[in-house]
């Protein structure tokens, strides 16, 4: 059993439930023990960095400090979300590269009784662990239901293979790790040329057309290659390609660019779960906007069309505290 510190990130608890569920199902098959960092906080995504410097890094730094305190033999922190992975790596890297930043972050952390020595943890993405620690041979040996006949577009997005401070990946543009893993599951992997191109990130919230153009490009390419599904390693990519797929296709259509198919966007861990013979019901299927039912049934896997988990109980919906905007005090609370 390989032991790792695990940084799930905010999305795993909400929009990427399916990622979390499928991961929890395959943990034991993968022989890995992911120990969640106690009381971790948000990494700030790409937002905090654009507002401030030291606070943004202190925010990330708290997670690193907590992790190194908890490290207990395992020096590796695993993140499942691209942005989280990058931010943790970035803080570790820049705190060392620019000691003045490192010192200031530590000065801030000291306020909370914490400290982090850059370089003392190794920050890795879940896919990296699967391919290089667990190994493709092990994965292959656990496949009971090969994904034979399923055409999968491997999609990594930006922040896993780039900027790659620790040189963990085979390439920045066309890395093959996800391809190899999916192939090990028996899937037919297409040579997806845009596998590391952008999903639009937060632009869905800022300049939707910019985002739809980028999502549209990805879908066009997947369409050209006649993919059945797109496999992702990142909650943000999944959300953008899935929830905004209809909008993006509409946008492309208005530009006179047609996209024939619709693509279920699945986490690679969901596909692993299927290949390992886990019950699709436990793998978060049904939570996707573009249903995987048809694509999966083509390889004889029945997945639920709707979310089968119990609907969350609606707690009292009144009197929700509003987030505090910068420059205003939080007296509403």
């Amino acid at each position: 059993m390989k032991k790792y510190l695990f940084y799930p990130g905010c999305s795993m608890e909400s929009s990427a439930h399916a990622y979390a569920e499928s991961l929890s199902q395959i943990n034991d098959v993968m022989d890995m023990d992911l120990v969640e960092i106690d009381d971790w906080n948000c990494c700030g995504a790409t937002e905090y960095l654009g507002i401030s410097l030291v606070p943004a890094y202190a925010l990330i730094g708290r997670n690193l400090a907590l992790a190194s305190k908890q490290a207990n033999g395992s020096k590796t922190v695993v993140a499942s979300c691209s942005a989280c992975y990058l931010n943790l790596a970035k803080a570790d890297h820049y705190m060392a590269e620019r000691p003045i930043l490192g010192d200031k972050v530590n000065e801030a952390l000291a306020e909370g009784g914490l400290n982090y020595t850059p370089g003392s943890l190794s920050i890795r993405h879940l896919l990296d662990i699967m391919v290089y620690d667990i190994g493709l041979d092990h994965i292959k040996s656990k496949v009971v239901k090969p994904l034979t006949g399923l055409r999968v577009a491997p999609y990594l997005g930006c922040m896993v293979p780039r900027p790659d401070y620790y040189k963990n990946w085979s390439d920045h543009e066309h890395p093959t790790e996800l391809d190899d893993l999916l192939r090990a599951l028996g899937a037919e992997v297409i040579d997806f040329p845009l596998k590391t191109h952008c999903c639009g990130g937060h632009m869905t919230q800022i300049s939707p057309d910019t985002a739809f153009e980028m999502i549209g490009r990805l879908l066009t390419s997947a369409d050209t290659f006649k993919a059945d599904v797109i496999a992702t390693v990142c909650p943000m990519c999944q959300l953008n390609l899935d929830a905004y797929q209809a909008d993006a296709i509409k946008y492309m259509h208005a530009q006179g660019r047609d996209i024939q198919s619709r693509f279920p966007i699945l986490f690679f861990t969901q596909l692993m779960g299927v290949a390992f013979g886990k019950d699709p019901k436990t793998l978060g299927f049904g939570r996707e906007f573009v249903k995987a039912t048809e694509a999966m049934s083509r390889i004889g896997v029945e997945t639920p069309a709707e979310d089968v988990q119990a609907k969350p109980k609606r707690k009292k919906t009144t009197g929700l505290p509003m987030p505090v905007m910068p420059g205003r005090s939080g007296e509403e609370e």
């Binding site: 390439d171 543009e173 066309h174 040579d191 040329p193 845009l194 490009r217 066009t220 050209t224 660019r257």
Partner: protein
């Protein structure tokens, strides 16, 4: 037993150089000189002067005059690096009748004024450095240089244009040359080209006659399909072991008729001469004009060697020249000097994965394109796509692939701009296709080069200033479908552009040979951080190396075009010819020797010498150093537990005295008051 400072009876002259403002701008040279004259008087300094340019003839005369008039017995010059002017000042001493090795040059330019900014600290450090030199020079001994005869033969490693030029110059002057070439034929990269810029003359037409001269020259002994295995000895007298790889051809019988190649059933991709774009057989001469004309059997790919049966070539050979029993031969030759002209490798453009080389069929490397345009190449000079038939309608040529890029090589590969212009011309002339050149900066600095650029502009080639971001097959619009799209910022327009083309040519960087470091080590020379061989002086001695007797020429020293490679080959030859004419060379007398009375024969030093200069006499149980083989590194001196080994030039006394001298001057605030 105590290390009291030795009594000094020497009369020392100290000379502090201004080097114009190079030193004097930071170091208060006058203060340094006055200080030495005053404070180092008790150490024997009787004259101390500063002067504008010590290396000028007036500066040297100053020293000579003082030696004669003041009876100086030691001279210390504080100026530039000893690597620059040690010889100058030694010669001056010699002229004045003082043994040249009683002069010490200390560096206050490279090691002080050029690297420090604080004037006070620089002046103080200069004093320390000078004082180190004064203490050291007291312990100098008069020495005589070692005179070594120069063997008249020369080894040239590498049979490209640079090596060919060098070999012919020396051979024509009447001295023997051994040329060693790794491939089956000489010719190098130049033999792969069709045209040469800017004159566009045919590469083969100008190269082949030279290759033939090498092959026929009575003074040149040519070893192709061979590599240097080992180099022993030193300048004037190197012993070189050459591995002549088995050709499996009896060259004395072979007529070079080519029937074996025709009949050989094993066809494979030729990665070397055809740059992967064409095929060859398992028995082959790389190209028709090859020198020598004899083929080689490539053992790795020969069906007989791999499977045990075939021998088709043997059956058809009209002169019975095939010999499967041949073995590698080791040949030893004596030479006085060596020229390394081993050239370059082409950068592997697959590393720039955004350009799609290896993934997208119609992305070509520059060397592939050279073969594509070559009349003797795989397409007979037709410029076509990878399918072998389609003529491109639009071609994009990308500059700086793997050059000027910190991700790969941070240097400029020099030839790519001109090469890309040549490609543009060839595409235009032979296909009429639209040609785009994507460049960061156009570098056409040489005679007739910019004129060539003008000509290509006139021909209608389109120039886009911008480093290409990516080459992709992922179309965004119907107009892009089925084509290669070059995505780039047109930096002059300030806009991102997507330009559809049919063919992309990558002007890839020139890189040091994959085994450059290993070869450098074999010959005892150094590589720069990039892997190019380091010349003795970048401006004034560009073909010599820091190792006496080893010269470099052509791209092994850094990327360069054909004219410069030829010039360097000739320059290296000229340097060597001068030495051969002199018949001997004077070497630094830095050598180790063993005090036979003190040596206990413990044999600890016996494993210290990589040059086998240390000999142990079993009968007398003592060790001895052979001065002819000793290179003067001093490792055995430091190893001897009995202190029985000593070394000239860098003796214990000299170094210990220098340490003392260096530490006599201290930053005033640095020292805590004496205890007690």
């Amino acid at each position: 037993m105590t290390t009291e400072k030795s009594e000094n009876k020497e009369r020392i002259g100290v000379y502090v150089c201004h080097c114009g403002s190079n030193i004097a701008g930071i170091v208060d040279v006058q203060d340094v000189a006055e200080w030495a004259g005053r404070d180092l008087a008790e150490r024997g300094v009787v004259v101390s002067r500063d002067y504008k340019f010590m290396c000028s003839s007036l500066g040297q005369e100053l020293i000579e005059k003082d030696i004669q008039e003041e009876g100086l017995t030691r001279v210390v010059v504080a100026a530039c690096s000893p690597h620059l002017h040690e010889a100058t000042f030694r010669t001056a001493c010699s002229r004045a009748g003082l043994n040249p090795y009683l002069c010490e040059l200390v560096s206050i330019r490279e090691q002080v004024s050029w690297v420090h900014t604080d004037k006070e600290a620089a002046t103080e450090k200069s004093k320390a450095v000078l004082s180190g030199g004064v203490e050291r020079v007291i312990h100098h001994e008069p020495l005589e240089p070692l005179h070594v005869p120069i063997h008249p033969a020369t080894l040239v490693v590498g049979g490209g244009i640079s090596g060919i030029q060098a070999a012919l110059e020396i051979a024509d002057a009447g001295f023997p040359v051994y040329m060693v070439e790794r491939e089956p034929s000489i010719g190098g990269h130049m033999a792969q080209f069709d045209k040469t810029f800017p004159t566009l003359d045919c590469s083969a037409c100008i190269l082949t006659p030279k290759m033939v001269s090498v092959g026929n020259h009575p003074n040149i002994n040519l070893f192709t399909w061979s590599e240097v295995e080992k180099v022993d000895g030193y300048v004037g007298n190197f012993t070189v072991t050459i591995r002549k790889k088995a050709r499996y051809i009896k060259t004395e019988l072979c007529t070079g008729c080519g029937i074996c190649q025709e009949k050989c059933p094993k066809k494979l991709i030729d990665d070397v001469y055809e740059a992967g774009l064409g095929y060859r057989k398992a028995v082959y001469t790389p190209f028709p004009q090859a020198v020598p004309k004899y083929p080689v059997i490539d053992r790795e790919n020969c069906t007989f060697f791999q499977k045990g049966t075939c021998k088709v070539c043997q059956k058809f050979c009209p002169t019975d020249a095939i010999d499967f029993e041949q073995e590698d031969e080791l040949i030893t030759v004596q030479v006085g000097n060596i020229i390394l002209a081993t050239g370059f490798d082409l950068f592997d453009p697959r590393k720039v994965s955004q350009y799609g080389y290896g993934r997208l069929a119609n992305v070509f490397s520059s060397l592939e394109f050279e073969r594509l345009t070559n009349a003797a190449g795989p397409t007979n000079g037709n410029i076509v796509l990878r399918d072998g038939v389609t003529t491109p309608r639009a071609v994009g040529i990308i500059h700086c692939v793997g050059s000027r890029d910190r991700n790969f090589n941070n240097y400029c590969s020099v030839i790519c701009c001109m090469q890309s212009l040549k490609f543009a011309h060839l595409v235009h002339e032979r296909t009429g296709a639209t040609v785009y050149n994507f460049y960061i900066d156009m570098r056409t600095a040489y005679k007739e080069y910019d004129e060539f650029y003008q000509r290509i502009l006139e021909e209608g080639t389109l120039f886009v200033r911008g480093k290409v971001a990516e080459v992709t097959g992922a179309a965004r619009s119907p107009g892009e479908e089925g084509r290669l799209i070059i995505q780039v910022e047109d930096t002059l327009a300030g806009k991102q552009r997507r330009i559809p083309v049919d063919m992309v040519i990558l002007s890839a960087a020139l890189q040091p040979r994959y085994d450059a470091k290993e070869v450098a080590h074999k010959f005892g020379i150094s590589c720069s951080a990039n892997g190019w061989y380091i010349e003795k002086h970048p401006k004034l001695d560009p073909v010599a190396t820091m190792t006496e007797g080893i010269f470099i020429a052509g791209c092994v020293q850094g990327p360069k075009d054909i004219p410069t490679s030829v010039s360097q080959g000739a320059a290296a030859a000229a340097r060597i010819l001068g030495r051969i004419q002199q018949k001997e060379i004077a070497l630094e007398p830095v050598r180790a020797s063993v005090d036979q009375d003190k040596c206990s024969g413990c044999r600890i030093c016996n494993s210290m010498c990589p040059f086998n200069a240390i000999i142990f006499h079993e009968d007398r149980m003592v060790t001895e150093v052979n001065p002819a083989l000793c290179q003067g590194c001093g490792t055995c001196i430091a190893a001897c537990p009995a202190g029985a080994i000593s070394g000239t030039g860098f003796s214990d006394q000299q170094i210990l005295a220098q340490i003392e001298g260096l530490l006599m001057v201290n930053f005033e605030h640095a020292r805590v008051a004496e205890l007690g």
